[in-house]
């Protein structure tokens, strides 16, 4: 690996990973989730070289528990998750604040303002206030690199987990990083657990005392950490001030430069929004008369500052969400306008874009779609055709979190709900007990291991009528094809015990069908049987197993195996069945043409279109090489 002094163009997430390595982290765990995934993924790539333990845990709660355990046994640890992952891990988060750490523990929470790839826009800085744990918020990837290392120091100083809050923009922006240190020669990966029931056994008698001790630490942090690099004050002493938390500082910095107003404001850069350090804020209130707080999403800093204003009886005008939007991520453009509005000026920006394109037809939206060859397309087609054949008319599909969520779109429309990880089965169970429709829970393989087991057990235990469909594409596809317990591989590529989804379901009492949706006709037949059995009153599940097409394409390239290609012949009548039933991006209808065409470079060779063509007009144009079929399984 690169040594001290090297420069690398790192994503914010990679910068955090490199800093963790330099800090001597010996244990890292996570469940993948955008935008957090690359933190632990980059650690997994070098884990063997460094001797670090790195794992994809089955969910965020489990990953937190594992990393926490390492830290109390004296091994520096890291756990990373997307913002909603911390909801899953919130139970142990709250407890860990009471029991505290021994070696440093960093909890990376990657929030997703603008909801680029999430079901909500929660601001996880609140978790700091809820758990009484410090939250560190970097303002650029370079700063994330520095603050990660500093966070380990404060974690050990106060014996508390530290929450490092990033956002999608920071996690997914690259910046040149100059490495300040080498990879340590030896990393501490073994420790020892010193028993202390009064500390680690949270019965009320113990936890009441621990709560008091936690609040003492909390006050110490508020008092002590109002210093660089957590707080930095530029141009102190001015009447007008801007307080900017996290990445908002980068926007404020550039906006003020563009306005030529750098010296007209005191600028307070906040890298510890929770708890907001008191001393520098008191100092600010001694001279500033008008303050704008710029922060993304909720008024976390603003509310804490307003409390200090009251305590100090300061005569100051304090603004925040009055001018800075509370929805969506901030940007230079938005912050520029917010500052203009704060100054009482027209909130306009100095840039003027050309008119958007106005054409007929319009520029069509391009949401993410199921890839060419995606196994979910096959499964959705099979499930729908089978429902028809089995005479199942009124169907509710409860959905879950993964690529297959895209199944809510036409032409499939096989996700009527999608709320949170594992929600498909729990919601299906409840619905099945109160509605007449047939309810089918559609859940991915990784999501099933994450949060699908308890609600599946519940279906059987409490007499639910939900049919469970597990889409097993043999990886955690949406976040970048990480392995899971059904793959027989660990995060670092070691062999692991392979656990089959059908074995779990069978042991719970589900009659479980395993289908290979590449064999379309056969799978439809099996699925029809499954529906009939379900209608007869049995607990039924279907596991549909076919590998993610992106993994297949990668393996085919690596092993030099050609996949088959399909083409449309003159027998095509232009009925558009393939286009309208499948929505495959590799099938296009060109301008002026009444017949579809298959883009050869995009076709993955799954053959589903050939199956659905009523005129047998879609044929293999290039045979697959020896062993191509095995790549899909």
């Amino acid at each position: 690996m690169l040594e001290r002094g090297s420069v690398a163009l790192l994503l914010g997430n990679e910068a955090i990973a490199r800093a963790a390595i330099e800090a001597g982290v010996g244990f890292a765990a996570a469940y993948p989730g955008t935008p957090s995934t690359e933190v632990v993924e980059s650690l997994a790539e070098v884990a063997k070289e460094i001797g670090m333990h790195v794992e994809w845990s089955t969910n965020e709660k489990v990953s937190f528990e594992a990393a926490y355990a390492a830290s109390i046994a004296g091994v520096r640890a890291l756990v990373a998750m997307k913002h909603v992952g911390l909801n899953v891990a919130s139970d142990i988060l709250m407890s860990s604040a009471y029991t505290g750490v021994n070696s440093g523990l960093l909890v990376v929470s990657a929030d997703d303002p603008s909801q680029h790839s999430s079901q909500n826009e929660q601001d996880n800085r609140w978790y700091g206030l809820l758990s009484h744990l410090p939250v560190v918020e970097p303002w650029c990837p370079r700063n994330a690199y520095r603050l990660t290392k500093v966070s380990y120091e404060i974690s050990e100083k106060y014996r508390l987990p530290v929450i490092l809050r990033t956002t999608t923009r920071l996690s997914h922006t690259r910046q040149p990083i100059v490495y300040e240190a080498d990879v340590p020669r030896e990393v501490r990966t073994r420790g020892s657990f010193k028993k202390d029931v009064e500390r680690y056994v949270l019965v009320p008698a113990h936890s009441r005392k621990l709560k008091e001790a936690l609040m003492k630490k909390w006050e110490e942090i508020r008092e002590d950490l109002g210093v660089e690099p957590f707080i930095s004050i530029e141009n102190p002493g001015l009447r007008r001030a801007i307080v900017a938390s996290g990445i908002s500082y980068a926007h404020v910095d550039e906006a003020l430069n563009l306005m030529n107003m750098r010296n007209d404001f005191t600028v307070v850069r906040v890298s510890m929004p929770v708890p907001l350090p008191v001393k520098p804020m008191k100092e600010l209130l001694s001279y500033a008369k008008s303050i704008l707080v710029v922060e993304e999403l909720d008024p976390v800093v603003e509310l804490q500052l307003s409390k200090i204003v009251v305590e100090e009886s300061a005569s100051v005008e304090l603004y925040g969400k009055d001018y800075v939007p509370a929805n969506y991520e901030l940007s230079l453009e938005i912050v520029y306008k917010s500052i203009k509005a704060f100054l009482g000026e027209e909130p306009s920006a100095p840039w003027s874009g050309v008119e958007p394109v106005k054409l007929e037809p319009q520029v069509p939206p391009r949401p993410p779609t199921l890839c060419p060859g995606c196994p979910h397309r096959n499964t959705f087609y099979v499930a729908k055709v089978a429902a028809n054949k089995a005479g199942v008319r009124d169907l509710i599909y409860t959905g879950d979190i993964g690529c297959y969520t895209l199944g809510y779109l036409p032409p499939f429309r096989v996700q009527d709900t999608s709320l949170e990880m594992g929600g498909s089965i729990g919601v299906a169970h409840g619905l099945s007990l109160v509605v007449e429709d047939t309810v089918i829970a559609v859940i991915g393989d990784s999501t099933f291991y994450h949060a699908g087991l308890p609600p599946s057990i519940n279906v059987v235990y409490n007499g639910g009528r939900a049919l469970i469909l597990v889409l097993d594409n043999l990886c955690t596809a949406m976040t970048g094809h990480q392995p899971h317990p059904g793959t027989g591989l660990t995060a670092t590529g070691e062999k692991a015990e392979r656990m089959f989804i059908e074995d779990f379901l069978k042991s719970m009492g589900f009659k479980t069908y395993v289908i290979d949706p590449m064999n379309v006709g056969e799978s439809i037949g099996e699925f029809v049987k499954a529906y009939r059995e379900h209608l007869s009153g049995k607990h039924v599940a279907v596991v549909s197993r076919m590998k993610c097409a992106l993994e297949v394409l990668r393996a085919a390239r690596a092993r030099g195996i050609a996949l088959p290609k399909y083409a449309i012949t003159d027998a095509c009548t232009g009925c558009m069945a393939c286009v309208n039933l499948l929505g495959c991006p590799a099938i296009v209808v060109e301008e002026g043409s009444r017949k579809p065409r298959i883009l050869e470079e995009a076709c993955a060779g799954c053959g589903l279109c050939a199956y659905v063509c009523p005129y047998d007009a879609i044929v293999v144009s290039r045979e697959g090489g020896a062993g191509w079929r095995e790549l899909w399984h």
């Binding site: 420069v7 163009l9 994503l11 955008t34 680029h116 790839s117 303002w139 650029c140 923009r169 997914h172 922006t173 690259r174 910046q175 040149p176 980068a250 926007h251 910095d253 550039e254 430069n257 030529n260 940007s331 230079l332 453009e333 520029y336 920006a349 840039w351 003027s352 874009g353 050309v354 008119e355 394109v357 106005k358 054409l359 007929e360 037809p361 319009q362 520029v363 069509p364 391009r366 949401p367 993410p368 779609t369 199921l370 890839c371 690529c403 036409p410 949406m478 976040t479 970048g480 992106l550 286009v579 309208n580 929505g583 495959c584 991006p585 099938i587 296009v588 301008e591 883009l599 470079e601």
Partner: protein
């Protein structure tokens, strides 16, 4: 001390090599001793969706280009270039592949319509980068690097931050094995195509 940042918006479809192009320009900046941010903006982290990469050369850390502030737009696909055209101002240079890849089940404007509409708004240059990559270089995925070479040749301002030599070094940093040679060729091919237009 308002220092100008040079803003490049890269637009296209997931899987076309946009992120790699962003990484290339970012590494070329490192080779040139220029600070840079490269922001990857994509939805559900999967293929097939609309993707944009914001590259900002010069000092500063705010990653996203304001609408109207792109100095250069590199469009890997026509519909996506049209979608993000409001990031350009009248002075912006827009370099676009003639490749059009409509989303499934969509009604969409034609390439000709898009070119007509854009050329009235910005300084538009269209190049058959995908065809060149596929037919001449036998590597369809190298269209992105052809476009980079072409853009460098067409924009003196871009070259003030990153020159061809730095771009070649970046290719060697980012790619491995056979891909180095193919992409070097793609870069030079695009650069000479742009140079032949005689634009200063």
């Amino acid at each position: 001390m308002a220092l100008k940042r040079f803003n490049i918006l890269i637009a296209g479809v997931g899987g076309q090599g946009l992120l790699t192009l962003g990484e290339l320009i970012g590494n070329a900046a490192i080779e040139s001793g220029v600070d840079v941010t490269v922001a990857e903006v994509h939805g559900l982290s999967q293929r097939g969706g609309s993707v944009v990469v914001h590259v900002r050369l010069g000092p500063g850390s705010s990653p996203v280009i304001p609408k109207g502030a792109a100095d250069l737009i590199i469009g890997l696909e026509a519909i996506e270039t049209a979608r993000y055209i409001d990031y350009a101002s009248r002075e912006s240079l827009v370099v676009m592949d003639s490749f059009i890849w409509p989303p499934p089940l969509s009604k969409h404007p034609s390439l000709k319509q898009i070119v007509g509409e854009l050329s009235g708004r910005v300084k538009l240059f269209v190049i058959d980068a995908s065809r060149i990559a596929r037919e001449e270089l036998k590597a369809a995925v190298a269209a992105n690097v052809v476009l980079l070479g072409y853009s460098l040749a067409l924009s003196k301002e871009f070259r003030n931050y990153v020159d061809l030599e730095a771009a070649v070094k970046a290719v060697r940093r980012v790619f491995r094995g056979k891909a180095v040679e193919v992409n070097e060729k793609a870069l030079i091919r695009g650069y000479s195509e742009g140079g032949s237009l005689g634009v200063k």
